[in-house]
Amino acid sequence: MSERIDFDQVREVIRIAAEAELVELDVESPSLKVRVKRAAPDPARDARRAAETDTEAAAGAHGHLETIAAPMVGTFYRAGSPDAPAFVREGDLVSEGQVICMIEAMKLFNEIQAEKSGRIARVMVDNASPVEYGQPLFLLDVTARA
């Protein structure tokens, strides 16, 4: 009766959390909200966790990824022109206001800027593919700082 959860996205979030060895990871998009908690390697903290019911306390320093979503309908481009290098790559640090991609709509190329500083954890859309409003384009680790 209603749209189904996109389990590929859920798995992807978990994979990212594992890669980054995070204890906790929240990702939220208009249609999906995922929170992952992974058992920490430290047995001492493990014990504490078992005792504690409050997750906040358990969550020490953990990465927090935010999605950068498409602000308009159009075609997503990673670079300013076919032969130019991509504005950003996975792992790059970006600062607020930096251009990270372009969306072409009605023959107009619109520069999309990062609204926060952080590290590009993942590029979620292929170059030159259509995007709808609110579609996640990047995952940004806002805890990463230069």
Binding site: M1, S2, E3, P30, S31, M72, V73, G74, T75, A105, M106, P130, E132, Y133, G134, Q135
Partner: protein
């Protein structure tokens, strides 16, 4: 014929248009706002694009995102439905400029009829009877008083850019005039960003009768029957029926002729509705023309057997009308009740929320158009129409009893609806006799008894 059509709308009318497309083998593209992700029109479409957040201005009125979607999906036609961009001449123009067929009239026809004062003047010039009043916009009080000389009192002040009763004031005497003029202007300015107003003679207990017209691009203009929409609350139609009760053929044909003339003089194409007021002595006056498909088009479909939306699409594709005057001889009688997510027991307050139970009526002579289903959440952002129930009967009595039966079996839980209001109207003696004027709701129904 088109291969793929984008529906630039939501709700039941988006579903209605997609049904027509499916029956014609045309692929469909839905656009939707973030709150409409789970709406039936999204699930029914072959492709669906999110075009913005909940507020209409950022989504269903967002021309760039809609046109980008049209481009990305490669549609060859766009149907605007009603409301939103349906009567926006600029949108019609942009669509046409993009070499995409606009399923509706030419931009200039939309523009002309959109300016109520200009439309009135145009009709008057063309010999379509209009309500006596000012020649176009009234500049100031002196101007208004002059016009009043022609109309007499009471008179009504209307917004040139108006609709839905906003920017409308009644003046009983010359003394009322300056104040009424003032507030009408302020309200019009606020509602439409256009404070221009005009003056009309006030009619006592008129009926709201409208004529469905259809024109193709080959010069044929036909009228497809009349509808009585006198059951209104604050100028919002609640029940429509066809044919209008107790109306003599002479008047019906006069209305048809006047409507066809109105469409012809402005070079109209596709489906349109010419609205008239008919007073106690059977004088008919042009009110306005709606240059789109109407909410109430199903009552005409019920008595004529035509599919007006499919016909719209064919005409937009350049085909000739698939019917003649003979085909539109009405058979039987049809009613439509608009089921709104409103609480009639507390001033029709909007009642958004999740529909926990939804069992629509069925059986003989009943049609339901809706975008709702069990578990659907009615968002607070848009028009409160959640379903239309259309009943058909061999005569008016059967149509009324069928509608009553259908509304009694319509199960909707989780939100309030206008069903109790409709049941009261259907049981009202004046309504049963067909003695309904535009003041019926305020004059004949005790709302507190709901």
């Amino acid at each position: 014929m088109f291969r793929k059509l984008l529906v630039a709308n939501r709700g039941e009318i988006a579903v209605r248009v997609m049904r027509a497309c499916r029956e014609m083998g045309i692929a469909t593209v839905a656009v939707y706002s973030e709150v409409d992700r789970g709406s039936l029109h999204v699930r029914m479409a072959d492709e669906a694009f999110c075009i913005g957040p909940a507020p209409s201005a950022a989504s269903y009125l967002n021309i760039p995102n809609i046109m980008s979607t049209a481009e990305l999906t490669g549609v060859d036609a766009i149907h605007p439905g009603y409301g939103f961009l349906a009567e926006n001449p600029r949108f019609a123009e942009i669509v046409t400029d993009c070499k995409i067929a606009f399923v509706g009239p030419p931009a200039r026809a939309i523009e002309l009829m959109g300016d109520k004062a200009a439309a009135r003047a145009q009709m008057q010039k063309s010999g379509v009877p209009v309500i006596p009043g000012s020649a176009g916009v009234v500049a100031g009080v002196r101007d208004a008083l002059t016009a009043a000389g022609g109309t007499g009192y009471p008179l009504v002040i209307k917004a040139a850019a108006g609709g839905g009763g906003r920017g409308m004031r009644i003046a009983q005497t010359p003394e009322d005039l300056p104040g009424a003029l003032d507030s009408a202007r302020r309200e019009a300015e606020a509602a439409f960003g256009d404070g221009r107003v005009y003056i009309e003679k006030y009619l006592h207990e008129p009926r709201h009768i409208e004529v469905q017209v259809f024109a193709d691009a080959h010069g044929t203009v036909l009228h497809v029957g009349t509808r009585d929409c006198s059951v209104q609350r604050r100028h919002q139609k609640l029940i429509e029926e066809s044919p209008p009760p107790r109306m003599r053929d002479r008047i019906t044909s006069a209305l048809g002729r006047a409507a066809v003339r109105a469409a012809q003089v402005i070079g109209y194409v596709n489906a349109g509705t010419v609205e008239f007021l008919v007073d106690a002595s059977e004088n008919l006056y042009f009110m306005e023309m709606n240059t789109r498909i109407q909410v109430e088009h199903p009552v005409t479909e019920a008595v004529t057997g035509l599919d007006l939306v499919k016909e719209q699409i064919r005409v937009a594709a350049g085909e000739k009308l698939h019917f003649t005057g003979r085909d539109v001889e009405p058979r039987g009688h049809a009613l439509e009740c608009r089921i709104n997510a409103e609480d009639p027991r507390s001033g029709f307050r909007p009642s958004a929320g999740t529909i926990t139970a939804f069992v629509p009526p069925g059986g003989p002579g009943i049609r339901v158009d809706t975008h709702c289903y069990p578990g659907y959440a009615v968002p607070p952002n848009y028009d409160s129409l959640i379903a239309k129930v259309i009943s058909w009967g061999r005569d008016r009595d059967e149509a009324i009893m069928r509608m009553r039966r259908a509304l009694l079996e319509f199960e909707i839980e989780g939100i309030h609806t206008t069903i109790p209001f409709h049941l009261r109207v259907l049981d009202n003696a004046f309504f049963r006799r067909g003695e309904v004027y535009t003041n019926f709701v305020q004059r004949r129904l005790e709302m507190d008894a709901l």
